[in-house]
Amino acid sequence: MQEHIGEHILWHLPVLGAVHADTITTTWLVMVIALIFFGWIGASYRSPYVSKRQTVLEAVFNYIADLVTSVLGEGGEPFVPFFVALFIFIFLLNQFGMLPFKALGLPFGGSPTADLNTVVPLALVVFCMIQAVAFRKKGLAYFGHVLKPFPALLPVNVLDEILRPVTLAARLFFNIFVGELLFIIVTSIILARISIGFFNLSLGVAVVPILIQFFNFFVGTIQAFVFTLLAIVYLSLALADDH
C-alpha cells in the first residue's frame, strides 16, 4: 500500500527531468477555470447595475481587504490583490482534491497542495515578497532587525525568520496530505474485508468517507485562510517601525 502514498505519475521532460504530471496538469486546470470564472464575473462590471455574481465576489474581496487594512494600516492597500489571489488560489487547490479523479489512473487529479512541490514555492514566494518589500521600504537597515533586542540573540532571530516559511509550508502540506492519506487507509480497510468477531469492520468503515469529505472541505478552507492571514501578519511584523 505504501507505493500509493506520495506516489505521482511522472513525465520525463528533456531539461527538467522527471516531474509530477498530475500536480502540474491539475494546477493548470485550476488556473484556467479560475481565470475564466473570474473573467466572467469581471464582465458584469461593464454595466452600471450591480449583479449578484459581483456582490458575491465583492464579499470575499472586501473581507480580505478589511483584514489587510486592519492589520497593515492604510499602507497595506497595494498588497490586497496579492493576498486575495493567494487565498483564492490555495482554497481552489485544496478543494480540488474532493473531485473523484485520482483513482482513474490518469495523469490528473488529487489535490496539488498534497504535493510538496506546490506548497514550498508558495511559502518561498511569501517569504521573498516580505523580504523584498521590507528592504524596499527600509533599506539596508531592515536587516539589522536580527540584532534588535541585543546582538547575542542573532541565531535565535535568524532561526525564527527561517522557520516561518517552513512552518507555513508544513502546516498546509500536512493538513491536506493527511486528508488524502485517510482515504487510502479507509480504502485499504474496506478492501481487506476485516471482521472482528461478528462486527464487520469493513462495512462499518464504509460510512466514514463522507464524513472525511466534510472534514477535508472544512480543513481546506481553514488552512487557506490561515496561510493568508499568517502571511499578512508576517508582512506587518516586517514593516513595523518599532521592534
Binding site: M1, Q2, I5, T167, A170, R171, F174, N175, F177, V178, L181, I185, S188, I222, Q223, F225, V226, L229, L230
Partner: protein, 92 residues
C-alpha cells in the same frame, strides 16, 4: 524471537503512543481556545465575527504540529517498518 515480529510490534506501539498523544494534546488545546472564545463572546457579543476569526486562526495554527505527527507516524508504520507486509508474511 523473530526480528521482523519485534520490528512490527515496536512500530505498532509507536504508532499508538503518537496518535494518542496527538489526540490528547490537540483536544486539550482546541478546548482551551474554544472555551476562551465562547467566554469572550458572552462578555461582548458585538465582537463575535472578530472572535470567530481569531478562534479559527488559533485552531489552524495549533493543528499544524498534530497533523505533522500523524503523517510521520503513518510513515513509520507503513514505509519504515512496512507492517502490513510483515504481518501478512508472518500469518502465512
Amino acid at each position: 524471537m523473530n526480528p521482523e515480529a519485534l520490528i512490527a510490534a515496536a512500530a505498532v506501539l509507536c504508532f499508538g503512543i503518537v496518535i494518542s498523544g496527538v489526540a490528547f494534546g490537540s483536544a486539550v488545546g482546541d478546548g482551551i481556545v474554544a472555551s476562551k472564545a465562547v467566554e469572550s463572546i458572552a462578555r461582548q457579543p458585538e465582537a463575535r465575527p472578530n472572535i470567530f476569526l481569531f478562534m479559527f486562526l488559533g485552531v489552524g495554527v495549533l493543528e499544524a504540529v498534530p497533523f505533522i505527527a500523524i503523517a510521520l507516524s503513518f510513515y513509520i508504520l507503513l514505509v519504515v517498518a512496512k507492517v502490513p507486509q510483515i504481518i501478512t508474511s508472518l500469518v502465512k
